[in-house]
Amino acid sequence: MDFLIFQVPMLTLQATLDGVLLGILFALIAYGMALQWGVMNIINIAQGDLVILGGYIAYFMYLWGIHPAWGVIVSPFIMYFVGVGIYKLVINKVVDRDLFISILATFGISILFMQLMNFAFGADVVLANSGYGTTMLFDNSVTLPNSKIFSAFISIIFAIGLVIYMKKSKLGRAIRATAQNARAAKILGVDTEKVYAATFGINAALCGVAGALISITFTIHPYMGLPYTIRSFMIVIVAGLGNLPGVAMSGMGLGVFEEFADYILGTEFRIGSVFLLLVLILVYRRFKLSRKREYLK
C-alpha cells in the first residue's frame, strides 16, 4: 500500500502538482523571512504565528460576509502595522545584539501571540470557505482545488511585486543598502531605524497574505504556527539569503518532498520528515564547510 504512489502514475502527478502549489505558498512565507533575516540578522521564530494571525483576519472577514479572498488585500495592510508595532516594542532592542538574543525574543513573541490568539479567538479550528470549486484533470483522476491554484497565483504575484518594489523604489533601495552594509548606509543618510521597521512590517504583511491564503486552503488554529516557521526557516537555509529564485525553487522542492513523504512514509511523518531533512541539510552544510576549511589549511 505504501508504494501505491508508484503503481498509479496519476497519483505521482497528483502529489507533484499538490507539492508545487503548496511549495509556492511556503516560498512566500520564506521570502519574508529571508528578507528580514538578511537585512536585520534576525531569525523570526514568530513567523508562523504572524501567518496564523493573518489567517484570522481573513476568517473574520469571512464571518462578516466578505469573501475571504479579499483577505489577501486587507490582511497585509493590517499585518504591516502589526509588524511595525512588534519592531518598535521589541525587535529594535535586540536588532544589534547577537542571534541568540533575537531568537529568544522572537520565541517569546511567538508564545505570546499563540496565547493571545487563543484567548481572543478561542481554541477552535476554523476555516474560511472560498467556494472556488475544483479543477479536474485527466478524466477526474487528478483533482486540483481551485483554492490551491488561487493561493499559488496570488503568492507569485506578491513575490514578483515585491522584487520590483525592492529594485525600483526608494525604500527598496534603502533596504538593500542597509542589508549590504548598515553602517555605510547610515553614513550616507539612510535612516536605518526606519528601514528596519519597514522591513519587519513588509515581512509581517507577506505573512498576512500567506495566512489569508492558508485560511482559504487549509485550516487555522492558534497553535498551528510553528510548522510554518520551521518550513520557512528550512527553505531559507537551503536557498540562502537574498536569493529569490532559490527560495522559490527550494519552496517547491520542499512542497513536493512533503507530499511524497506523505504518500511513502505516511501522513504522520509529514512534518517529521521536514525536521529530518532540516537536520540532514544542516549536517551536510557543516560537513561541506569543514572540508573547505581543511582545504584552506
Partner: protein, 413 residues
C-alpha cells in the same frame, strides 16, 4: 544587587500568597459539598473545557435549586472549586494534588479529554478520592484497575464500530473494504482499535490505514489514495481539525465514498462551517438531544437542550450533557451512601444503576459506563444547504431518520 532584591521580594510575596491560601476547605463545609475539578479554560482544549464547565455548573444550579443532596437527614448543596489546567497534563496532575492536599477536596469531577484524565487518575487513586469524569473515553483508563474512577460515557473503542456493522448490513451482510485515518493520540487510537475489532468480527478488510499527525491540516495524500482504491467506508478520527480538514478536502477533491464515518462533528460545528459539503457524514456521539432518556432534574434531552440554550446561548454539545450527568451520579451516590466517607461513597458509585436524561448509567468494574450505547447521527441538509441538521440514524431504537446510503456521488450532488 537590584535583581536580587526583586527576586527576594517576589519570593516573599509568593510565600505570603501561599500561606494565606492554605486555609483549607474541608470536603463538606456547613451545608456545602465541595467538589474539585481541574479544567481546561485556556490552551488548546479551552472550547471543550468551557462546554464541560458549563455542563457542571448547569447541573449544580439545577440540583441545588431542586432541593440539593440529602445525607443523614440534612440537606446539602454542591459547590465546585475550579482550577485552570491550561490543557496541560502535568499542570492538571499538580492541580489535582493541590485540590486534594491543600484545599482538602475529597470528591473530584473529571477534566476535559482522555489525556488529562489519565494524568489526574493516578493522583485521585493515590488519595482514594472518588472521581466521576465525563470527558475521558480512552479505553486505557479502564484497564488499569482504578478503583476510584467512574466515567459516565462509553469508552472510545465503541465510538465507530457501529458504523462498520452498519456498512456490512448495507452490503447485504458481506464484508466491506475499510479505509481509515486516525490521529495518534490515546483517544483516536482507541477508536481505531474498535474498528479493527469490528473488521475482524465481520471479516472486513482494512485497505488503507493511515495515521494523522497532531499538526494536521492537509490530508490530500490519504484522500488521493482513497480515490484510487475505492473503499466501501472511510473512517476519520482526528478531533475537530481532522473532521474539518476531511470534509473540506473530500469536497474539493470530489472523493466519492459510500459511507463516511467520523468523530467530533458537533464539536467542530461541521454543518455550520461546511454547510452542504458536510451532508451525509456519519458522526459518533455520546448523546443527542432527541434521545428519549429521562430524569426528574432535567426532564428529557430536548428539555435539557432548551434550558441549556437559554442559559448559555448555544446548543449543548454532548460534552456538556455528559458533564451535567456526572453531577446527577454524584448526588445519587451520596444519597445512597448516606455518608461522606470516601470509601462508602466509592462503593455507592460502583453500585450506581440509574437513568439520566443523558442515558442509563451503570459502571463496569473498570469504571466505564456499560449501559449506554453510542449513537450515530448523519448530517442532513435541506435542498439549498442553508440549514443542516444532525439526525440520529443508528442504533435503530433511537433513530429519528433513515440512513442515507450510499452517499450520492459528487457529480449528482
Amino acid at each position: 544587587m537590584k535583581i536580587n532584591k526583586i527576586i527576594l521580594s517576589f519570593i516573599s510575596a509568593l510565600a505570603l500568597l501561599l500561606s494565606t491560601s492554605v486555609t483549607s476547605f474541608a470536603k463538606v463545609v456547613g451545608d456545602k459539598i465541595i467538589l474539585g475539578s481541574a479544567i481546561s479554560l485556556t490552551g488548546k482544549y479551552s472550547s471543550n473545557g468551557v462546554h464541560t464547565q458549563n455542563g457542571y455548573n448547569m447541573a449544580v444550579d439545577r440540583i441545588n435549586s431542586m432541593g440539593g443532596v440529602k445525607v443523614g437527614g440534612k440537606t446539602y448543596k454542591f459547590e465546585i472549586i475550579y482550577y485552570d489546567d491550561e490543557s496541560n497534563p502535568k499542570r492538571a496532575a499538580q492541580l489535582a494534588e493541590r485540590l486534594i492536599s491543600q484545599d482538602g477536596v475529597e470528591f473530584m469531577l473529571g477534566p476535559y479529554s482522555s489525556g488529562l484524565t489519565k494524568a489526574i487518575a493516578p493522583v485521585t487513586e493515590k488519595y482514594g478520592v472518588p472521581m466521576v469524569e465525563a470527558n475521558g473515553a480512552s479505553r486505557s483508563l479502564f484497564t488499569k484497575g482504578y478503583k476510584y474512577l467512574f466515567a459516565v460515557l462509553a469508552p472510545a473503542n465503541l465510538y465507530l464500530d457501529v458504523a462498520i456493522d452498519l456498512a456490512v448490513e448495507k452490503n447485504g451482510g458481506k464484508p466491506v473494504k475499510i479505509a481509515q485515518a486516525f490521529e495518534q493520540d490515546a483517544f483516536s487510537q482507541d477508536v481505531r482499535l474498535g474498528i479493527l475489532e469490528a473488521a475482524e468480527r465481520t471479516g472486513s478488510k482494512i485497505i488503507i490505514d493511515d495515521k494523522l499527525p497532531k499538526e494536521l491540516n492537509d490530508m490530500a495524500a490519504t484522500l488521493a489514495k482513497v480515490k484510487a482504491v475505492k473503499p466501501d467506508v472511510l473512517v476519520v478520527s482526528g478531533h475537530t481539525k481532522g473532521a474539518l480538514t476531511a470534509i473540506r478536502q473530500i469536497a474539493e477533491m470530489k472523493v466519492d465514498v459510500p459511507m463516511l464515518a467520523m468523530t467530533h462533528c458537533d464539536a467542530a460545528k461541521l454543518s455550520k462551517q461546511h454547510g452542504k459539503n458536510s451532508e451525509y457524514a456519519l458522526c459518533a456521539s455520546q448523546w443527542h438531544k432527541t434521545l428519549t432518556y429521562k430524569d426528574k432534574f432535567f426532564g428529557d434531552g430536548m428539555k435539557y437542550a432548551a434550558d441549556f440554550e437559554k442559559e448559555f446561548k448555544y446548543d449543548p454539545p454532548y460534552q456538556a450533557a455528559e458533564s451535567s450527568a456526572a453531577l446527577l451520579v454524584f448526588k445519587d451516590a451520596f444519597e445512597r451512601a448516606n455518608s461522606f466517607d470516601k470509601k462508602k461513597v466509592r462503593d455507592a458509585l460502583a453500585a450506581t444503576n440509574m437513568q439520566t436524561f443523558y442515558g442509563n448509567i451503570k459502571f463496569a468494574p473498570g469504571g466505564q459506563n456499560v449501559d449506554k450505547p453510542m449513537v450515530l447521527f448523519q448530517v442532513m441538509c435541506n435542498a439549498d444547504g442553508s440549514k443542516c441538521e444532525n439526525k440520529v440514524v443508528a442504533p435503530t431504537k433511537w433513530a429519528s431518520a433513515k440512513l442515507i446510503h450510499p452517499i450520492p456521488s459528487w457529480s449528482e450532488r
